[in-house]
Amino acid sequence: MQKIEKKKASPMEVMKKILGRQIFIPIAALLLLVLFNLIVDPSFFAVVMKTNSAGNPVLTGNLITILDNGSELAILAIGMTLVTAAAGGQDISVGAGIAISGSVMLRVLCGTNPKPEAIQAPIIVAFLVGCLAAMLCGAFNGALVAYFKIQPMVATLILYTAGRSIAAWVNHNQLPIVPPGSFSYFGGVIPGIPIPTPFFIAIGCMILIALVLKFTTLGLYTQSVGINESSSRLNGLNPILIKFLAFVILGICVAVAGLIKVSRFSTINYSVIAKDIEMDAILAVALGGNALSGGKFNIAASILGAYVIQFLTTTLYKFNVRSDALPAYKAVVVIVLVVASAPRVREYLNGLKKKMIQNPSRKEVG
């Protein structure tokens, strides 16, 4: 999101700059995964043009899978980063939020009949109503956190626990199936375009948030509130409103992710849909090198973190890691990545970096 300043710099400074940048962590993680796959099996990166059952051209390959399936997480990472920055905590109800907004969308699309012949309302209406539902959930969480000053994890625990039941209640426990048609494009492909739509939606969200950050002061306000609430207030900010806003923006992200999720199979499974996605979204924020205690943030790094997580998942599938060992592998990788981005380790690395940079300059003097 940040522009790189146009300044002439020596290679050493460039090196220092890259190492010092927050986004270095997810990039390093990504490079590591790429390198591993290159060494073990370069065919991992093959992308092939195929024709799907509907007769449309599609690109397939692991890279496409990553871009496709990482989209929801990337979109959530945007909102989660803002919430983390402003409130200094995380929203653990995003999975439940996806279930609710997805369920609401299906309810609008299908009406009372779980298997209608044709959709009962335009998709945009369904999306907007679903969006409203997700924003309401965000507003509920936001009010608890910003106004009542409840720890974000605790506040969002309420919807985390109750959300999926609410989602099921919206459709009276039935599983609506949207009739075939353009609704499936959002989680699949648009005929004639060989790249999965979720990727475009994610790109759209990224552009949108980049524009918002450029043309509003959201970034400065969020960080300021996250770092020093009292000081922000004395500078004319309204910390309550800003935290609240962050949760509502996350609500929008949840709705977009929900749209993709329910579109993928044109239906919903209340207990399974977007299960544990909150943990991955938080992990994406952490992988992006953002402090989970709030303050300064880098959304680009979080988004990259999201794709790193999907890259890891796809790599594990690709290598047929045994089912019962899968969580263990993932845990090990996560531990390595998180420890690598921990303050202590970063301090140590910074120390190394300084030494690296100091030594040549000493030589120059000598």
Binding site: N52, K149, N269
Partner: protein, 334 residues
Amino acid sequence: MKKRVLAVLMAATMLLGLTACGGDGSTPAGGDVQGADGGSSSGTIKVGIINNDPNESGYRTANDKDLQAMFTAENGYDATFAYGKTNDEQINAAQQMIQDGVDYLLLSAADVSGWDTVLQDANNQGIKVILYDRTIDADPSLYVASIVSDMAKEGETAANWLKDQGLSEYNIIHIQGQMGSAAQVGRSGALLDMAAAEGWNVLVSQTADWNAEKAQQIVQSQIDAGKSFNVIYAENDDMAKGAVAALDANGITHGVNGDVIIMGFDTNKWALEELKAGNWNYDGQCNPLQASYLNDVIQKLEKGETITEKTIVMDEKGFDAKTITDDDVNTYGI
């Protein structure tokens, strides 16, 4: 401080509200029966039914509906329903029911262990315990009967069906449910035993945690790796659907007359419709309709008969795309 108290109150109210909503939506019968509680006559049988969260899956929803329909005042029951996602919640509910002095305690436990004490209490009070749907690790003397689906048998039925297809070679993608669950253990075991005995080639056994999307990714990853396969054995319908989505995306045919045989479980109605349309080949039943079995047991006990078989295995079918009828879809689809 004030704010905090207020917030907690608000949260509590919200939760209560939700529970109330849930109650309204899903347990109308429970409410009715509780209303009639005060004037219960000696003719009604008082049962406490402990189940898992009805939103957990379509299977559970069907299961709950079936129970709600059976244990009504018209059928001579005074039923209290309780739902719990965890053992703790369920045990609390059980203790409450024991105090209320129910005649029968019907239990589908969230977790297999930790039930000894509370069941012992029930027995001491002369309450008869009947397990349904899920078994527990406890002394069999603590309950009078256990009505179960035999997941291994479901798996065997499916594996035998697959064997009967007489393919020249078997290259199987095996998509597992949540590791360690009874359904996964039973269904995986049967397939892998058969594969070993028959020399089938299982390309991959991978868990998708009952999740369609993960199943899609697993199959996609096999396609991207250039593996050729002709059978997908998915341990539930959702995952079979995910697998099919991956095949569709890659233009691979499936189902009757297709290149890949699709097998699923749980007989969701939509899954049976896929079967009927020839998109899938096989779907194994996991019968959620246990209420009639429970009723039988209770009626027998009421008449003073003894239950000879402690473990009652329900009839469960396997459906073939070539032979399934509309009638089957409507009868067995959940």
